[in-house]
Subunit: 341 residues, 4 copies
């Protein structure tokens, strides 16, 4: 059994990792840590739902413990923490899957711009692989450090990649209108995230200024061979889980809807977690909740010059913990779907 | 006191009309009707919340009753009903405010295409004025038949008009991504509208195929002097009230954000229900719930070649009953805000 | 016009007071204050929904300002603040309506026990009247200090009083199972009140240990002439507004359901805000949301030896700001329903 | 592998059965049927979430098919259907787990009273075992027909049984105040179950008149050795899943809270799905959602003469499909927790 550690085990992504990994046939959770704790606490006392299932203590995080007890380490921490820990893990020969934004961008200057701070491990950026599994499977297989993508990025890139790859998207022709459930914002104590401020409320935030934009740009530039200037507006909607990305792509030539459908089906052939829906079906967030699935539907508009691609994921599943486990499966040579059914 | 009738008084828009009109200083509700009833029923027995406030019966609809008891008639009915009633009301000299789609399009063939049926009163289309109050105030003042706009259309047109009017929007450069609370779908008994099917769920429907698109096109063509091919994707979100329209306009020249802000403030100067928010404020649906208000914020993206305009309304307020009352105020020469504070 | 001040104007109850008082025909809001502010801020900048409606600044609270600008002062503050301010207001001859728990209990020792602190104005307790308007109208008419009841207390006491008054409730026979929307918990930044912790969640809290119990006991003892030991379990439900109190009363003799119905109708005759529903109607929280109304239904069970009384209010309406305005109306000799329709 | 059939596979309980049984190590779903269908339809076309996981067709129900393809048959149907099918299954030697109310009551006259119709298989009532697994494990082990309990009943009986068994509850001293998520009401097309009628709404229904009352009475009479007259008020709350039962038991003698805690822990020792929470923890519906777990907390009130017991379950889990699978495990001699982790 491969020994697993989860650092940040008390947050939403950490909890979801526990849920997936408990069911995984080839691994064993051997270390749970939180930076908030001052002393070890029974995990099932903190979270009674794990009584009888998890018998570990959740410990104050210590890097030596993680190294001693684990083969694979999941870092489910706020931005700017993983980059100070990862070099030591790498040196100790561990596998690292970082759910934060620290290793997603290839360039330290890009990171500095997006996150408003210097990167602590600029050399590490080169070795990390961007863990959008369906697009980078081969590289993930060979790396020991995976930068797990953002939730918005996962839905948006999966929606756009098949058309971008064909190089028929206009350079400034990509608009992503994304809607997210509130677990996407984590457990931060902000007034705007109180139930009473968010229920019966729909709002946009950081229009065209969200930190996931650069990683979307980076991935699509790689797949399209040139820079695309996307516009991106995220919205928060009053539900717990789910991302619905509506992606509008202006095309350089007319495309037929059936043709597009075939391109998408072909692109995701062999990718068991991505469902390209046949018309007239449309994606629903409820149907992918608590799964690692992604649903996609494509439509042609404006006489075939505009593609409308809709994609749904669970922000904590394919958008975080699910994809992290999928990436582990690829890294470790397990069946890609192990523990994720 | 002007005597008011509401036909379709038991639906969501009908109830909201009662709410607004009860507070109105210059009118008196004198007739409440529903086509579902077989005999008169005490309105406050059906809706205990009106006990002590509404002392009328709700009656089975009869055209002669409406004519006898009312000066102004609000039709809050499904599509395809108002067009068979309105000619008789017009002949009897009544004022009509129709909340359905029957009189919104100027052309009978456009109506036939959008609603998949022949128009029963094609001549009447010419006399009806599209009731987006801020844009057609002068015509509304002179008509006796107002076609109250759709909820999506109201938010979308208010968001786009100031830029469209300046003729700097590319012909195929308009994308409307709209999100609506569920009262927008009315009280229809459909499985997909059950609580358990809609809660914790976000979905798109009728992508680029919604019946509000032609009226948006029509209004923007009038204001922009030429045809704009918009793309329009509506989404349902798990909340009762509110529309959030995120409108993306590709511009023919670079525009500065502050400049845009001034254009919008200027355009809506004197329109007390439209709030152009100063940056960095963004619209929220909760803030306009139960009001006739509209909040708008504008942002420049892609070096000023893309405008992102966000607008919120209450779909039952400015998107239906509120605007209907506003239109009545203009038609009857009342203060435009009477009953709407 | 009577001049009104609201201290704590930025909280949920404060906002709701603004909403009611703006529509009130006999008063004018002349002072808005918050203890959180360091300098005056335009109220409509903080809360854009008041643009064009409220032209005041919200100021850092100063007792002299409140005295100078107001005739009537509403205190919408956390517990333990009002008791240090009220003596000065009383001395200056002002009317005070306190929405906190500070003046609800008649005995300083009861207060000490319930709130775990000494009362700062024990002498003031005697002069304050418990503002459950329907039960203490005459005393409210003559006082200058009203202790506005808690939201749970309002629903529970209104539900129980007509039977308690008849002295047929067994001494230990009163059980109150109460369910509240989340605005009842205020805007406190607690993890358990985050959207994601409260949505799709139902929980009990402080079972038989809530600070509203002593005021319920006190009021029912007054009406029933002897002590009743109630059990009280409050629950939080995932909605913004509303309290549903299900009250179970074990009776000393068999009572007929129709008889009970008549008792309740009689008891609340002349109380325009309380609706005793005819069977088979049952209360709904949605129907009383945004109002000062209370809905009540009574049922007999166990052969007439158990009464089940259900009551709904809006916790911010009849449970806080609405009742506060109703009390002001009674104190000032206005029509009891002024501003509350 | 044991071959499983689910009749009523498209409803909420049917779907949940699929979810649990797919993960089950010892069974294979071999038959899915719905009475609504006219011809076989690919299950994963109807429910895209099962693509790649379920390869069966969902068929129009035929009794011979069920007999041919299955060893164990789950009936997830409305009341009054199972009783006309079960005799044939019994004759064919099949195992039947009925999720409806048809076989829960031991007496045909009790059934007639509760469901307002004659029972079609009165002899069958004697052979069916009431499937509250923790209480009737031994009988379930020996039967071929299990009547799976109602969701309210499961939570209420689990909460009350340990005290009732000790015969210290007063005969008329049991009050159950239960709150349920909306999936409990199924997928029926009723106006009151529309999202817009249920969101931001809390309501009671059938106070003291719900069809689950007789089965609760029956079970508690068996455990307590005498009749208890319970009062039972169910409420609907705006969430999808979860039941919170707050049970008030008036005791014939004073009981200490710690003593009660021990009694409950003892009673549920060896029952892995029931968690008796240590004080001060309280049950939460979210924590048991999507599981077969039950959380219980006990409190003493009124000097030890009143017990307040709170219990939560997922109405589709322990309240329906989860417990049905648990019962199958017991009937078939599998590990009781198989497929339910």
């Amino acid at each position: 059994m491969v020994r697993i550690g989860i650092v940040g085990a008390t947050g939403y992504s950490g909890q979801e990792l526990v849920r997936y990994l408990l069911r995984h046939p080839h691994v064993q959770i051997s270390y749970l840590a939180s930076r908030r704790l001052e002393k070890p606490v029974s995990f099932s006392k903190m979270f009674p739902e794990w009584s009888g299932k998890v018998h570990l203590q959740c410990r104050p995080f210590k890097i030596q413990d993680a190294i001693r007890y684990c083969d694979v380490i999941f870092l489910a921490l706020p931005h700017a923490v993983a980059m100070s820990l990862t070099p030591a893990f790498v040196k100790a020969g561990k596998y690292v899957i970082d759910l934060s934004g620290d290793y997603r961008l290839k360039s330290a200057s890009g990171f500095a711009k997006a996150y408003q701070m210097r990167h602590a491990d600029p050399k590490g950026l080169a070795n990390a692989v961007y863990g959008l599994t369906e697009l980078y499977r081969e590289q993930i297989r060979k790396t020991k450090v995976v930068a797990n993508p953002g939730c918005y990025s996962t839905a948006s890139i999966l929606a756009a990649a098949p058309l971008v790859k064909r190089r028929i998207v206009e350079p400034a022709g990509l608009i992503i209108d994304a809607k997210s459930g509130v677990t996407g914002a984590g457990k931060s104590l902000k007034e705007e995230l109180l139930f009473t401020e968010m229920n019966e409320e729909l709002r946009a935030y950081k229009p065209n200024d969200h930190q996931h934009m650069p990683e979307i740009d980076q991935a699509l530039r790689q797949w399209g061979g040139r820079s695309l200037r996307c516009a991106f507006v995220p919205h928060l909607v009053p539900m717990n889980r789910g991302i619905f990305a509506t992606v509008y792509l202006r095309l350089t030539r007319r495309v037929n809807e059936k043709q597009m459908q075939r391109w998408y089906e072909e692109f995701y052939k062999g990718s068991g977690f991505v469902r390209v829906l046949p018309a007239p079906s449309l994606p629903k967030t409820g149907r992918v909740a608590y799964t690692n699935d992604c649903e996609i539907a494509v439509r042609a508009a404006q006489g075939g010059r505009l593609a409308i691609v809709m994609a749904t994921i669970d922000n904590l599943g394919k958008g975080a913990a699910g994809q992290a486990v999928q990436n582990m499966n690829v890294m470790m040579g397990f069946d890609e779907e192990a523990g994720l059914q």
